[in-house]
């Protein structure tokens, strides 16, 4: 059976307005690298600034919260298509829209599968955790614009320190402290942590540049301990 790594790619990579496809290409290079070293990869694209743009407009227009989630999911799928374009022929050519479609794609001859969100009420972090469970993945890499979990938001508190590893309980507390500052420091939400915990999926939080190193098992980012 194939060895799978799941990679959550945070929405900041898809900041097309300011950076075009440049970051997407870099993430694609990391994923292709893993594929060349014999891994199969399921990547989950986040939403980012365009998702926020649509959600803001739809909220103004009176959409329900579930409809806002749905709209965000649509944009994560557009982001997933960008990553597929950057990956070329190694990527599964369409975006799975359910876990069942992900599983069907995993039975194809392509080594990398890219998806976005699935259903309202679930963050793409939770989707990545479920994908890891479904595929029996060897690890989950959570790639963000920070290179790991810090004791505080490093962009706000210069004395914040990166942790080499962090227990799930500790991480839950770190996150719940920041929960009310919406949009600032959302790393792994409550649900994703519960899913990771129930299946004890080896997880590393790292930067975009650290994806391949994390898959190889090198010491980068922050490892979540159960």
């Amino acid at each position: 059976m194939d060895r799978f790594a799941v990679v959550k790619v945070s929405g900041a990579v898809f900041d097309l307005q300011n950076r075009g496809g440049e970051m997407v290409r870099r993430v694609a290079d990391q994923l292709r690298g893993a594929s060349e070293e014999g891994w199969r990869v399921a990547a989950v694209a986040g939403g980012g600034s365009v998702a926020r743009l649509y959600i803001r407009a739809a909220r103004e227009l009176g959409a329900s919260e579930a409809a806002l989630d749905q709209l965000g999911i649509l944009i994560t799928r557009a982001n997933a298509e960008l990553l597929i374009a950057a990956l070329g022929g190694v990527a599964y050519p369409s975006v799975p829209q359910t876990l069942e479609e992900l599983l069907a794609a995993s039975a194809s001859n392509r080594s990398i599968i890219v998806m976005g969100g699935l259903q309202p009420g679930q963050s793409t972090n939770a989707v990545a955790a479920l994908a890891a469970e479904s595929l029996g993945a060897a690890l989950l890499v959570n790639a963000t614009d920070v290179d790991g979990v810090y004791t505080d938001d490093p962009r706000k508190n210069p004395s914040a320190k990166r942790l080499e590893s962090v227990g799930v309980e500790e991480l839950t507390q770190l996150l719940s402290g920041s929960e009310h500052k919406a949009g600032t420091y959302e790393l792994l939400d409550h649900v994703s942590l519960r899913i990771l915990e129930r299946s004890r999926i080896p997880t590393v939080v790292t930067s975009y540049e650290g994806i391949l190193a994390a898959i190889r098992g090198e010491k980068v980012g922050t490892r979540i301990m159960y």
Copy 2:
């Protein structure tokens, strides 16, 4: 636009081994009553003992947690079919498998829609909350085998008292205290509460017999306050 009530029907209603379809028929009568009084209803069926039977066997056989969730969802859909059978011609004749299918069904000429779970990683309580958001429901009734929220598990602690209303924060604490006793007192999980809270959906926790009364706005069960 139609006035929708969402009713979460807990899995205990589908205890076919011990009670056959008797409880299903009673719940159907309550829902039909609401329909006759001009409401449209979306009911969400839980899993119950057959779901647990399958999940236990599948866990033994080595299924992933996501696959266990999926199996549970299949059984909730079988349960939903029972409720549809008991409702007859007022029910939408098939079980929506996504929120989009629920919305499509809501544009049909049937007054009651019955569904089960949607995706791994989401309880049927969360599904009910999302359904309520999507349909712009006037209220959510959480129908269980207890007639409301108690200060402790009433089946274990005879001095436990039923609350007329409970704040979301307080409820979260009550639940987190019982979280580690799996299968005992799971009423509304963390995710469902977050969804109810973000959309401030009027919610009543009550017994199966209290469904129609709760929809009518009578004083039954426990009301959740935001």
Copy 3:
């Protein structure tokens, strides 16, 4: 049988970066107006600036032209969701992705249906024309940021004159003259015109403010003659 009007809403309405949802709301008001006067409406949302943003990034990343079309279609569907949010309960609650889904939606109890693109190789203008054929629509309104067809691009040539009506042949020539200036004056492409022609669908080109007037049969914009 219901009386249907199809309205093509050009992508410029969805310029969220500069105008948020403001234009979307105005278009929604026009469509709701038509609905209140007894019309059923199928609206087709165009792509606009976000679509171009994605297409540009994907082209850089090496996507095929068909994949670029597909990405644009995804964004038109996100745009359609915005229009649905702004319309509320009169709108069919999901976005048809094929003509068959459009037809199914037309058999529901909602008076307005909103969709985006369908398949690569087909503009949303062509989709609107096919929708009009499929629904046996009484007319097609092509709503753009100009208030009709001009003898030349009115934004470039101040002496350009608006035509009250224009023959299909003449329009084809006007368009083919401008065809090589991509992105400037693309109103109705070759395919859409051929579809309109084969079914002789009464068509009016007008501004967003003129939609309701055009549906009522008032003299606005430019009428296409067969």
Copy 4:
């Protein structure tokens, strides 16, 4: 082209209430054995006691016969998921719901596919026969809790003898004699026999333990002759 064997697994294997997943694991071992010897396998799971539980309750509640069939099919799919869990990575990860999905799965890189029923009005025996036709299977193994076709029901008549082979005509007569004793001795229904006959699919009726031996061509159970 791949060599396919189709295996009908009777519902008695999924008697979770009394035997948990034990029998499922044994059948999975047999199928995995065939896979290791170079065969591709399509297994069709029957319904069993849980299916009967649901059908009884639904009939009480007034469901139509077609709805009862549909409910039974849902449970066969849950049973199929159990077999997939027990098979792990060699199994196609989801349950085909039409013959077309079966064919698509047969073009994947997994050697074993597991499905349940397809449509009301068709037994899982008929589904197995159609699957065998569609895949051009080399043989069909009908695995039951008896080790072959007997001259009478061996659980009732101790002098009943197992046949080494049986002609289709003779089998039809044996079956029609027992047709009115519902639920007792239903082996291969009229439709399945007609499908086997029209395509002359080599078929062996055997016990769960005999599956691998039957696939290998060893002398077990009862062979159907055309």
Copy 5:
């Protein structure tokens, strides 16, 4: 709840090569008549000469029997589209491909639904019987090019007599006698009869001209007795 009649329209109506759409129009007129008298109708189109043309060619080319059935089903769906075209706005605008899609269509605002075959291994007669069960139809009309059930094939035996009513057992015998003369006198196959019998669906066999009369309950054709 709506009163449904199911009408099986035999393939001979779709003999386009010799009669164009003439017969289709006549059948549509009968169905529209029933709709105008307050009935909802589900019509099931058979295959006819074009289906036989394709099946013959595919058999020559080596298709499996299941694939031949599938090809025949495709043509029945094309035939269903013809009937939809002839019915115009009273018809549900697309062809249900499963019983679940039929049920969804029955919850729409259209009074007539037209479908073809569903799955290999099932005749369109069986589909009509299942549709009748699913919809709780008040009756099933089997419209053929003969005006009822005869004691023998009336096209071959001039002394054959039409029966006013016929018992299911008797009909089974009449049919089994003619079973080996493929393509000559296939009226209601074994499976359809078993389905009609299990749900005791009132059934009339009549000519195309007798459809409306049969729905009205007038004395035409042959009635099947249980």
Copy 6:
């Protein structure tokens, strides 16, 4: 990555009434030949005489032009099934109905995929061009009953000469000259040419017998120059 050739098979091949499956078998032999030489092939079947039979009848019965297209597409899919039957195990076993399904099929282990039309408003020539774009095909072969592009219709004008190569502009002119003679000389429509042009897909127009030679790069038919 795989090397793909797309082959448009014109509808004349499926003239079952006059030639049975004979031409289909010959085309299948050519495609199988390419597969044996290491190519993957996506074939697109046209409509032919049966499609015209249905379209004529449906037009008489009042179908919309979009519905006529849809009916034609159904028949192209039946034609595609014939080609699949003739190809046997090297063919993907079902007919993709969208470009996304085509892409999914391209990730399977089968070397040849056969499809028909996709959506109203698009010829199967356009579908073939979009398939070539989507798959990144090395070439597109347009196989017709003439062996290339002639200066005039060779069946009418004996002095018409076959061109070895033709520029897209020139071809557009040749075609527009013949556009008003419906059904006579329709080779590549306006849309297909625009798609070929935008992606500069190497294209050869040739006879059925020339397919394999064209794929091999031998000098047959007429090459389109950009």
